[in-house]
Symmetry: D2
Subunit: 148 residues, 4 copies
């Protein structure tokens, strides 16, 4: 789809700031692999600690990676200072994940000033293991009329 | 809804095993507060480490808690040794979460031998902050015909 | 949940205007059974014409009834002239529908000036046959700042 | 994705049987435009009768078209006599539809013996107006072990 603008400096900044992540993205060790105009790829290593007693990665691992890439893909295409918050998403788990790398690619499907719809494909090696679709709400930078 | 059976011993075991959780549930410190026939309540403390740079809990925190309670609510009502795996869910975020306790209550809405539909309400203090709905696939215990 | 206002005249008008419905609601013969503050119940008769070759109601019948009640429940609680448009929903089908009445009850779970999250339960006689959850975007009346 | 088999005769039969459709697909005049291995395209004309009082197509129109293409795309790739039933889907509405043709393209993302995950893109002329993602449950032909 056509995007109103794309700020490669923001994209570069996202990749540079992986080491400063807090909370779940930090715990999971999510790395930004690629950021393009309307797309983003991030991944994490499925270390043994992330497995449940059945030997599969907890569903929350995949869900957190999806949530992260759903919102973050917006930053290079919205005004600096604006805030992208996931307001809803739906996720289908396609196959269990036991090892290797979990890689999510998100793509903006639709974009207005206030809202975006984004799809995410999550793969584990060659295998597609999850697909998601969700909505991101964009809040204007402080000082401008709020979008909330 | 009417449930085919309910095993209170499994319910008790779930509450007793919180300290042995691995992966995201362990990292988040999810505690099983209550397990009943077809319902379950779990919670986690929103410690500062879980906040993003905007001061809100990462969406993945809520998503992981939802995923956990969606599947776990099944264990007391399915045969011992059977496996409940979330196959899909949808989640709406209603309000940002900044502190306090995040509490999720899941409820089985529909149950067959192979599949269940579950709803989850997530609250933060008095405020409802997330609602979810999803499907859990039930796999028969080893030695019986697999449901996969 | 607490609602900012409730206009019983709008609610009464909704029930009175069932005979003037166009498109799918008219074709399906959707009747508004009850409208309250934040809730709405509508139903349709499952006439033989609505069944597929397998003898079940087409899924689109249930989906259309869900879509209708997701948005319409907003009208008595938003300003006159405002417009409520479903922007997304998720629907689980729980059981096939073969005859009788399909009844949907929607309930507003969360409401701000611009957006609402609504849940819908669909039953067929005593049986729950579908559950849904979705988002409605509220546009301000003409002449005021648009919410789009 | 790789499919276990594809039956072009079933695909041809689907296109030939549009005139015999019952219920909502018949009312909407859904036409099967193309059926391939794992994909399907269907469309309907947005005639004035399908518009709501605001001049847009009822959401149920798009939802019914999505439901139809989600399940029907399975028939050429499952055994003859098997039954494909949508068990859940999620739909985002991206833009209002006022005239012209509504076209849905569905694609199988994941397929096992019992279940498929399918995505649908709905366009109106050049514009993408809806995206969906859902699960289809496959029931074995009569005489074989049922998948339900």
């Amino acid at each position: 789809m056509e995007l109103p603008s794309y700020d490669p400096d923001v994209a570069a900044l996202m990749q540079a700031s992986d080491d400063n992540q807090t909370g779940i993205p930090g715990y999971l060790g999510i790395r930004t692999v690629d950021v393009g105009p309307g797309t983003m790829t991030a991944e994490l290593a499925v270390r043994p600690e992330l497995l449940n007693p059945f030997g599969s990665a907890h569903g929350g691992t995949l869900a957190a990676l999806v949530d992260h890439t759903l919102g973050a893909v917006l930053y290079p295409v919205i005004p600096r200072g604006a805030w992208a918050a996931t307001t809803e998403f739906k996720l289908n788990f396609l196959a269990p994940v036991r090892e290797g790398v979990l890689r999510a690619r998100s793509e903006i499907i639709s974009l207005t000033k206030r809202t975006a719809v984004v799809r995410v494909d999550v793969s584990n090696g060659e295998r597609l293991v999850g697909v998601a679709q969700g909505t991101v709400t964009i809040s204007a930078p402080k000082g401008e009329a709020s979008a909330t």
